[in-house]
């Protein structure tokens, strides 16, 4: 799980952060304005490709994507199956 968190955190920093904003596992991503609702689609696609899962649209909510921790919990739900 820690590995996954670091992978997701690194991806978010590399793809969506343009300055030196620090992103922790709990940093609000969507409500904090780091990832907007349109860009969420590319983040979802990354998770699906990386973890070979399919996240249904109704599970890919702004709330479920609002931090690295929450994202990893969501991914875990689908990797278990």
């Amino acid at each position: 799980m820690e590995d996954m968190k670091e992978i997701v955190r690194t991806y978010v920093v590399n793809e969506y952060v343009e300055d030196d904003t620090e992103v922790t596992f709990d940093t609000p991503l969507i409500s904090g304005g780091i990832v907007d609702s349109f860009s969420m689609v590319s983040l979802k696609r990354f998770l699906e490709n990386k973890y070979k899962i399919s996240i249904p649209d109704d599970k890919a909510t702004p709330e479920a994507f609002d931090s690295v921790n929450k994202i990893c919990m969501l991914v875990k739900e689908f990797t278990k199956e």
């Binding site: 343009e18 969507i30 304005g33 609702s37 860009s39 702004p62």
Partner: protein, 567 residues
């Protein structure tokens, strides 16, 4: 009692001089939006009234009274003058929804310079095209967005200043950069407002078309007349209101009604600079006791999607009036808002070029869910035949929306593109590029765009711009971009792509191309779906037939394919 009172009575007796008189403006006098939105409200004795209540994504907050708005915008004006900004120079605001954006807007106008607001999520390609077209003299931005400007600095010899409002004193500034801390800068009590006149340029907003580069829509200070009165009669802004316009001032709603309409009416407005979450939005309404809420169909549908349970956690009883803008508001959303908020969202129709609301639902008027409503008093709007450019002689026929030019906030031209501006007029009508019908009672019903421009979440995206960006990716041989239906955003961008030899379709390539466009243009322009195909449908003369791809996405009839290359 609503401000407009009886719509039918207003129609009979309307003249724009109503707004001029209320604003104590006489034709020929000076008119400066920056002054009207701050100094004038103080002169009316409301200097201590809260003007702007701002909340950031981390819960931090700032408040400004009208007097502070006046003084701080004076400080912005003074700073800009001191560094040599001249009247009619273009000054770009490239910031998130932070107080500096709202106050900077007024400060730029106060010295007679032209404000060029740009959406802070724009990538470097979107930025350079717009700054180059405007030959912008200065950009006011934040530390977090400065890297995008630095990246294209070499291509902008005309850009003299990059003004950073939150510079880190511990770090050196880059080339042409200058730090400006708005809150702590000198705030002159007495400040010479540039004597702009009705036709002096004020705001330059960029909008996308089907072909060619984005167009700079030039507005003038006289636009205030329309923006003030429509905010008063449609948004029904009243002295006691706590107003929340959710739009970003990178787009026209955020300036016409998030700044000019709100402040010229002297109301208290709240701004939330945070990403969307239903909980956060409802919490914000409850906390600040919002009474008037102007939002967008995309946001409303996102709230619908979040469900009704979350609403019950908050006290939203202060809301007295709701309105919507950006794209057609579907009837389900109107009915839903009546159910959960006890009042409908009233749809308003207008665009960047019109500068203010044109066709709308008014407080007190019979609402037909899904309808755009009726023309604002003083606006002559109809639907015309697309071939003859003549109004239809009866109701119910679908044609082009047409508006008689001459209202105060009408754009004056496209910046350095008069030819395209002239093409917006036919047979004495201004054509916004949308199709609709009018029913027997005079209500307008939106049908769709008359071109290939994609309206996603209320923002126009040019397929041409996206296709051009796609072609810069090393794997892409050809591309065609169309809209596809989406519950929340009404439409989203979809790209059809053929690959160069040596590249194979894959999920990783798909993501790589998505991110490539997102960074180059903006998240709005990023294709939400990419379909790799062997060849694009083309005419025999080699023109890509977007129409066919669009029809497939929307489940429509493909129509005439006689000119198709491989038919």
């Amino acid at each position: 009692m609503s401000n407009i009172g009886s719509y039918d009575e207003r129609i009979k007796n309307f003249d724009w001089s109503i707004a001029e008189k209320e604003l104590d403006y006489q034709p020929g006098n000076d008119i400066n939006i920056g002054w009207y939105c701050s100094d004038r409200i103080c002169e009316l004795g409301k200097g201590n009234k809260p003007a702007l209540i701002w909340e950031g994504s981390q819960g931090q907050g700032k408040r400004y009274t009208y007097n502070e708005l006046r003084l701080t915008s004076n400080g912005v004006g003074q700073f800009l003058r001191d560094i040599g900004i001249q009247p009619e120079d273009r000054v770009c605001l490239f910031m998130d929804k932070i107080p500096e954006l709202y106050i900077g807007f007024l400060g730029v106008l106060k010295i007679g310079a032209i404000v060029q607001p740009l959406f802070s999520a724009f990538g470097d390609e979107s930025l350079i095209v717009r700054l180059d077209n405007a030959q912008t003299t200065a950009v006011i931005t934040q530390r977090k967005h400065a890297p995008k400007v630095r990246k294209i600095l070499d291509k902008m010899p005309f850009l003299k200043h990059i003004i950073i409002v939150d510079a880190d004193p511990a770090k050196p500034l880059g080339e042409r950069e200058i730090a400006f801390d708005m809150d702590n800068a000198p705030k002159p009590e007495k400040f010479h407002i540039h004597p702009t006149k009705a036709e002096s340029p004020s705001v330059l907003h960029y909008t996308s078309g089907t072909t060619g580069q984005p167009k700079g829509v030039k507005h003038v200070h006289y636009s205030l007349i329309s923006q003030y009165l429509t905010a008063k009669w449609v948004l029904d802004l009243q002295d006691s209101d706590i107003y929340w316009c959710t739009a970003d001032p990178g787009w026209v709603t955020g300036t016409s009604y998030g700044i000019i309409g709100a402040f010229s009416n002297g109301v208290t407005q709240c701004v939330l600079d945070a990403g969307f979450s239903a909980d956060n939005w409802y919490k914000f309404i409850e906390k600040h006791k919002i009474t008037m809420w102007y939002s967008a169909p995309t946001a409303i549908r996102s709230l619908m999607k979040a469900g009704d349970e979350v609403i019950k956690k908050y006290d939203l009883s202060t809301l007295r009036h709701l309105a919507s803008v950006g794209e057609p508001l579907n009837s389900e959303a109107v009915i839903w808002s009546e159910k959960v908020f006890g009042k409908p969202f009233l749809d308003t129709y207008w665009q960047t070029e019109t500068g203010s609301i044109m066709i709308t639902n008014f407080p007190g008027m019979k609402i037909k869910p899904g309808s755009m409503g009726k023309p604002f008093p003083g606006i002559t709007a109809t639907v015309i035949d697309a071939d003859k450019f003549e109004p239809f002689d009866g109701p119910g026929k679908v044609g082009l929306i047409a508006i008689k030019p001459g209202w105060p906030s009408m754009m004056r031209t496209y910046w350095r593109n008069e030819e395209t501006y002239q093409k917006k007029f036919r047979n004495g009508w201004y054509l916004p590029g949308d199709r609709s019908s009018i029913d027997k009672e005079g209500y307008f019903w939106f049908v769709g765009r008359d071109d290939d421009v994609i309206n996603t979440g209320g923002h126009l995206v040019s397929p041409f711009e996206v296709e051009s960006a796609l072609l810069e990716h090393p794997a892409v041989a050809e591309s065609a971009v169309v809209s596809k239906p989406d519950f929340v955003n009404m439409e989203v961008v979809k790209a059809f792509v053929t690959l160069k030899p040596g590249f194979e379709p894959s999920k990783d390539l798909d993501l790589e191309i998505m991110n490539f466009v997102r960074k180059k243009l903006s998240p709005l322009a990023m294709p939400q779906e990419i379909e790799f195909i062997d060849s694009l449908p083309k005419t025999r003369s080699g023109k890509i037939m977007r129409r066919i791809l669009h029809a497939k996405e929307w489940g429509e009839e493909i129509g005439d394919t006689s000119t198709l290359e491989n038919d």
